[in-house]
């Protein structure tokens, strides 16, 4: 299972594991917010507002 496996892989005592877990989650959220979600929004045309001139993607 994924969640127990993650807990086992993280080193150190429980409080270190918890701290590392928070840092890992923050890093994942940052990657999603800065790179993945902007790409998804543009690629799938969510929230477009321009007239399709044919020149602009």
């Amino acid at each position: 299972m994924i969640f127990p496996a993650v807990w086992r892989v993280l080193p150190g005592p429980a409080w270190v594991k918890a701290l590392l877990l928070v840092l890992v989650i923050l890093a994942i959220v940052w990657v999603l917010f800065e790179f993945v979600f902007p790409w998804v929004s543009v690629e799938f045309g969510i929230q477009d507002q321009s007239i399709e001139t044919g020149t602009a993607p």
Binding site: M1, V40, S41, V42, Q47, Q49, S50, I51, T53, G54
Partner: protein, 259 residues
Amino acid sequence: MPTLERTLPSHAAPRRQSGWAAAVGLLGELLIIAGVVLGLYVVWQLFYTDIAANNTQQEVVDSLDWVAPLEAVTAGDAITVIPDNLKFDPDTAPVMEEPAFMTTFATMYVPRWGSDYVKPISEGVTRKDVLDTLGIGHYPGTGMPGELGNFAISAHRTTYGKPFNRIAELKAGDPLVIETEDAWYVYRVTEWEIVEPTQVEVIAPVPDQPGAEPDDHYITLTTCHPMYSAAERWVTHGTLEYWAPHDAGVPAEILEDAS
């Protein structure tokens, strides 16, 4: 010093599970992760893009040294209002060269949207480089401010700082004020329409009459419709009432309380 003896906690011992139960458990975990990611996408789209884009757009406005200081404008002190004898006919309006892609060349004031409304206008209408970050974008190849033809601009109605959020509140006669380094251009709203995303004739030199010779100084705002959708486009048109040299003062229109 006592010797620390590591013992394996009993709950860490691998439990015996049937293959079926393990598969269901794994599926459940994947669904939980998918749900959290989808939830995060909504938070990002509805809240985070506004914060990020508003910050960027405010920085852009602040970096333009020719922009009228809004604090002074709203406070109403030490402001010269453009006198009538320095308001000039649209036909004599100065027209700037079309700038390079992503260059911010103007700002926009819309009193109907609040006396503190000022947003930058930049060249281009691509999502990633202009509309999602810099705010209002100018359709390349359409007229520049004051030009005989159609000054056509686009912006988000929701999310990413939502510059055109309140476009449905604009009424005929409302001022749309464009400021460039050299001049002020005061347009007035004439009409609005809802069109399909493919109806490019709304940004023609004469709106909705592709191929016609330009006969007036138009402005056209396009944004999405309905809100939170990309199905249609809300389009608002206007015409130039007058222009004034930038150092003549500040148009009385942006000092008015329209609401």
